[in-house]
Amino acid sequence: METMKLNDVTANDLPWKIKYDANRCTMCGSCVATCSFRAILPKVERRRLVFSEGNFPEPQARFSAVPVIRQAKSIRDYCRGCGMCEKVCPNDAIKAERNPDTRHPIITRCLGGDSIKRGGRKNLEGSIRTLDSIRIGRISQMTDPSLDAQRHTFDLLAPFGRILPPKKLPFMPDDNQELVTNALTPPVNWIYPVIIGDMSIGALSWRMWEGVAMAVAYLNEECGMPVRMCSGEGGVPMRLLKSKYLKYMILQIASGHFGWNRIANAMPHMVEDPAGILIKIGQGAKPGDGGLLQAGKVAEHIQAIRGVPKADLLSPPNHQGLYSIEESVQKMFLSFNSAFKFRVPVAIKVAASATSVSVFNNLVRDPYNIVGGFFLDGIDGGTGAAHEVSLDHTGHPIVSKLRDCYLAAVTQGRQGQIPLWAAGGLGKTGDLAADAFKMMALGANGVFTGKLILQMAGCVGNDLGRCNACNTGLCPAGITTQEPQLAHRLDPEQVAQNIVNYYLAMDQEFKKLLAPIGNSSLPVGRSDALVSTDHAVAERLQIQHVC
């Protein structure tokens, strides 16, 4: 029998406790085989059994060795509560239970001497979501009829690219009273208002990334929905760079510039332009923290795509070459616009922050009309990996900040000139159409979503600390891992199908929301259509308070 010391790590110190019923267990081993975290182990226990065989009580004791499942007691291999063991157990013999008495935040730091890292997100728990206190309360009726979601046609497209002020449109009437133009204008792509957010190959398994890309191609080619996907910063497979499907991809560059050597080399061979370029300055789930791909996930194919050795890949928290907003605008202009010969819109993504409006103002006033989109990312979204302290204690909610940026544009008469795209916990309740619609009414041209896409694929992580182990490379669903055994748990075609179906459902739901306000095009800036039951929310967002 092993000796236990009182100060050893025990199950009671860990965030999840395994509840195991040896009587129900058939010893099939499925749970142990499934647990990607090695948080449960087969073990032999010495059991003492008291029995009596005769007609009268003649107790005897017998010792036997019994195979059982036990929880690993380690701060490295500990249970994340993903629940895969419970899923695969044929007899309901095992499950993980949240441990309210966990000492994990303390002992991990004490034993490890390093900051805690994890994936997932930190959320604004404990309060009602702002978007859930808002309803679409302007219902068309009588003289202003609502529309028929099934019968009417709807224009559900959003601009991605720099929009010129009306007086700068280079249109002149000719002798036939038709406007003519020969001048070059900034490129603008009209796309579906829900972009699949930036998640890199590296953060995602190649099978997950392939599933998402497949869904995007299907939505475009078969469903007629111009959905775009952002590559994330981590490169793009060469085969895709050279294919016609590149036109559905928004290529991302962040401070690590991962993968851009390959992208630059592929430029002469591209048969289509990408849908856009997204320069990532910051991310809402871990503002101020650079990207983090731990060595465990830097598999051979990731090394090849990114052009890096097997090592922790840390993106610097800032772009080393950019020291001012003006400079960043210039660099976008010089590098990306010219690289694609002014045919591809270039946008930036920043973390929502107390300073977002200043940044937005600087960009929207830029006299060169360069910035083709302001992607504002709030807290409540997700990330593959970050320091827990960043996840838990930094960040800024998206709703009021998006509204602030829109109203800043209104004040200057510049609304719409830099399309606003918002993210950060949208669709968290599973209902992205409603969240997106409300954000648009508050001023967003569109939204982008990442975490929800993972959930469509089968991510079991949640806001209460379940799983959130994307950083480990041991994703039990095969989504954020580069381990072949784990990645093969995921069926890319099923992923694609789920995403396509979700988009089709969401498209219907958009129409169901547009119909009652009587609009056939997106309700950007129609804050008059929203009401809130929360006085503070209504006042802050300048919408009607109702009770």
Binding site: S140, D144, L157, F171, V188
Partner: protein, 368 residues
Amino acid sequence: MCRIGAIKSLNYIHPSMALQLMQSQQKGHDNSGFAMVMQNLGGIFEPYKHLPTLSMACTDEGIKIAEDILHEAGFTRVMQWAPEVNDEPGLDINAMPNYVFETFKYPRVFKNSSQKEKEELLLDTRLKLRAALEPNEEGFAYSFWPDVITLKEIGDPRDIGTYFNLWESNDRFTAKVITAQCRQNTNYDIVRYAAHPFHLQGYTALANGENTFYLKNKEFQQGLHRGYIGFESDSQCFLYTLHYVHRELGWPLHYYKHVSTPLPFEEIERRDDQKQLLGIRQSLAHLEINGPNTIIGMLPDNTLFSCCDAKKLRPVVIGRDENTVAISSEVCGINEILPDRDWETDIYPNEREVVVIDDELEVQRWKQ
């Protein structure tokens, strides 16, 4: 719901015709007001076509305020006309003490100024008048423009007609184009400025409908031009968009339709002018109209036109005889004033049409 109407004629016509056009449609409106804009004036105003006429309703104090402002700006009055009012008891009218129609000479310093400079002066002066009259509701300056007269009042249109003696035709108070509407804007407060037709620098618009993009339109328009103010009615947005597209951007009239009810992307993709149409959808997205509407508009050159929302949720009909064309929300109005016309030639415009009537009364149907 509003009922709107417009008459354009080769001959000078009296407002009684506009009252008749609207009277038969009274079940469709709420008899809460009457407003009209007359353009291309005849009668006593005919000799002064090139000089600006101020249309104002005000108190005695209001007259004083306005005259001081105009005097200070250097305007000199050349003609003044006040309608004889018939203040019999029992009339449903919320009348102001004075209704002023005065024609002025431009200030001497503007003698050598360009037309454009004079037009800006007229707008600035009207805005100044409005601002000065607003605080104690001393008056309402509706238009200050050459060859244009505006009359608006709160009450029952029949009684308003009686009050101003508008039922009896004469040749002193006439115009070749009259646009009219018989309702106060009851979506919001009852304010005289809220009654259409609205006028701005030679542009007139009136509408039957709801502007569901009112907030978007308003938020965008208020930064576009100093004349885009008030917004007492969501229909003012239609005038400002017309003014902006045609005057400020200098685009031909048919682009007004492309701005207010843009074609769906699917259709734009199939067109040769997709670059322009997409540019419009992009840069002028906040001027789109997405509710049910019929609009009647008038340009400074007297061109009269009508168009509808993209789903054709509001009625309008255009009928004519040899000398007169009438646009009306309901055909009964046209039957009233043009009973002998060939009604088979009546036009019921569709959602992608602009019907345009020029000074020779040629009626054109433009397809978007």
